[in-house]
Amino acid sequence: MIAELGIAELGIAELGHFALILAMFVAAAQVILPLVGAARNYEPWMAFGRPAAVAQFLLLAFAFGSLTYSFVVSDFSLAVVYQNSHTDKPLLYKITGVWANHEGSMLLWILILSMFGAAVAFFGANLPPTLRARVLGIQSLIAIGFYLFIIFTSNPFDRIVPPPANGAGMNPLLQDMGLALHPPMLYLGYVGFSIAFSFAIAALLEGRVDAAWGRWVRPWTLAAWAFLTGGIALGSWWAYYELGWGGWWFWDPVENASFMPWLAGTALLHSATMVEKRDTMKGWTIFLAIVTFSLSLLGTFLVRSGVLTSVHAFATDPARGVFILILLIVVTGGSLVLFAMRGPAMRNTGVFQPVSREGALLVNNLIMTTAAAAVLLGTLYPLFLDALDGGKVSVGPPYFNTVFIPLMLPMIAAMAVGPMLGWKRADLGAAMKRLWLAFILTIVTAIAVWAVASDGPVLAMVGMAMAVWLGVSILVELTERIRLFREPFASSLNRLVRTPRASWGMTLGHLGLAIAVAGMAGAGGWKQEAIQTMAPGDSVEVGGYTFTFEGATEGRGPNYYLTQGAFAVTREGEPVVTLYPENRRYPVRSMPTTEAAIHTMFTGDLYAVIGDPEGTDGAYVTRIYWNPLVVWMWAGSVIMAAAAGVSLSDRRFRVGVPRRRKAPAPAAAVKA
């Protein structure tokens, strides 16, 4: 019986392996036939792209499913299952364990890549056939690099003979819902930019970009951007509650790896609007699409190659790192060469004055790309300097804050004005006049913050004021757009309802950023902390709240031992909440984790952590934090991601794409 079971499991992993290899051959055919077909305008070969993309996705889904099955039944004859799982692990984390390791996460990466390819095949019925064929061919070309990488350096289906009795377990820090969902979200973002990239390369091959191209690139970029925003926010949230000191952004190279494509992707999102609406900045938009996806690949390289641990560790175990590095050079270098050859031929018909919506969008592009470049410089500098024997330096948060914040302040200042400007030519003075209310409220906020928290950092005050400046300006723009107070209310309401969803997307997205900025200013500037040893009955006051330690108890969880503390929190004598932070120890990995107890309120988070016992009278080391407005940051991020979703549901994306550009868009859409 057991032997039979063993054979059955053996079979499923091998079938998965086979499906993976088969998918690579389908991918190879999907590169050659559609691309050659498009070059020779041979319809049947071009048509091969669509069924092939779907077949590739189904084969990879099967391969991924078989790996998941191996994790669920704890088939330790698979090396990757042995190294990352354990029979004691809850089922949920056995499943998320599939991608909580190198091999499995690369399989997830390519599964998502093929999913986007299949989505183009599925939704792309009315794309011009040559464009569709080329997009699918390029998409598959990227995939081939990753198939080779997985099969030759990171095969999740490698066996161990003889199979061990039990697994080595999973890093306890990874046994967490936030972190379990973080990689799929992040990959949906990273890999989603591959579509923009494939469209960019296809456009270079076609030698032509029209408004229909812009209409296609924008929604895919929006979707990828929304997932990446969500993924970054989720990772930051995880760090906040799991690492136990209330920090939420560390400028860690691994964080930067996901932040760089986000910055470039944000620029792409805005420049694609210009291609779609004004038939201008085409070459630049193609360039941004190439850069954004290249930064996604660079992020993968940084995280996957081990180069971050040390340049020398990378050099001593180079197989994986060198492979991704070559892939990165081929993809980026190849596409930039193609761009250099074909890019200048892109004809732009849209003209504009500096003070115009186009001008504002270009200011956005300037700042976002500079920010991405600065983060890139800071992240890679230590690696290059070390590789060139220039000595070892560390580039940490002080550098990034020094460079990044001065870029973002003018960015936010300009964000308030940009949406007020019309396309082609605008009156800056008139736009500024309409912002009088925002200006007054900004000054009032700055003064109020100064009065309440004069001992806090100036930057927190500036951040708060900028958040108000941006938030109010968005509301002003909205009320003007619907002519509130100028026309009868019913008429304004009618305008509000008829506002295109893409406009709503912009309004909500910018509002989300304003809220997030307020959260960052608050949590970054006015955080309060108390570290001490507390015996039962002791209390400490943090952020106006009194935390009384009521003692701690020992206990057991499913696969760990725990210490649980209890803190009664009161404010001016009134009870608020009782917090139960935990300290967990996982025997399989002999590694402790802290489970901070967090009580989230509109004005801030109460955050308590319990540490090691001190002495014998039941005293413990405790850490208490008051993190003002921190939830605004996640709320703002969620609003930004949701705003992209609202924009995606805009009628012009749902109804489909006209093959040729028709008459100029109606006035309402132009305003968006």
């Binding site: 190198h102 996460s105 136990g244 270009l362 948060p397 870029l407």
Partner: protein, 171 residues
């Protein structure tokens, strides 16, 4: 090997090898809150040498603890912030500073972003000029206000056509 591969490949995760809490312990802290505040600020700028990208203020590694204690000892002895940093750098090198010092090998790091912004602004001006000029060209095709000179020429031309029309009409 497995542990190392795990660490490297473990995920897109963040700092986690030494991520569990308990960086600054109560017994390390100084009684003088002003001095302790300075110690915290200095610690936040010093790298934990055995961790991946963590400051000694955030790390629970033994070496980080030793450094935190060292920083506090120097402060208690009356060192200025500068002197403490200089002392730590003299022992561990520039690598320990999370904010790299300004020197020839880091000029590109510090001035790079300014250079990029400058180039970006130049590019932006070039685009604005080109598109602005193109816009003027496009708009000059459309009826625009005419200069006096043009008006005179137009009037003259119209007179000519009038004459032609009249002559043509009479013929």
């Amino acid at each position: 090997m497995i542990a190392r591969r795990f660490l490297i490949g473990a995920m897109l995760a963040w700092t986690f090898a030494t991520a569990t809490a308990f960086a600054v312990e109560p017994d390390e802290m100084l009684d003088d809150p002003v001095l302790e505040e300075r110690a915290r600020e200095i610690s936040a700028g010093l790298r934990c040498l055995v961790c991946q990208n963590q400051s000694i203020d955030d790390s629970n590694a033994q070496l980080a603890k030793d450094l935190r204690v060292l920083v506090r000892e120097r402060l208690v002895e009356g060192d200025s912030d500068e002197q403490v940093l200089d002392y730590v750098v003299s022992r561990y090198g520039d690598f320990v500073l999370l904010k790299p010092p300004m020197k020839p090998s880091t000029y590109l790091l510090w001035f790079g972003p300014i250079l990029i912004v400058a180039l970006g602004i130049l590019a932006l001006i070039a685009i604005f000029r080109q598109r602005g000029a193109a816009m003027i060209a496009v708009e000059s095709l459309a009826p625009a206000a005419l200069s006096d000179d043009e008006k005179n020429r137009l009037a003259a031309l119209l007179d000519e056509t009038d004459t032609i029309d009249k002559t043509g009409g009479s013929a």
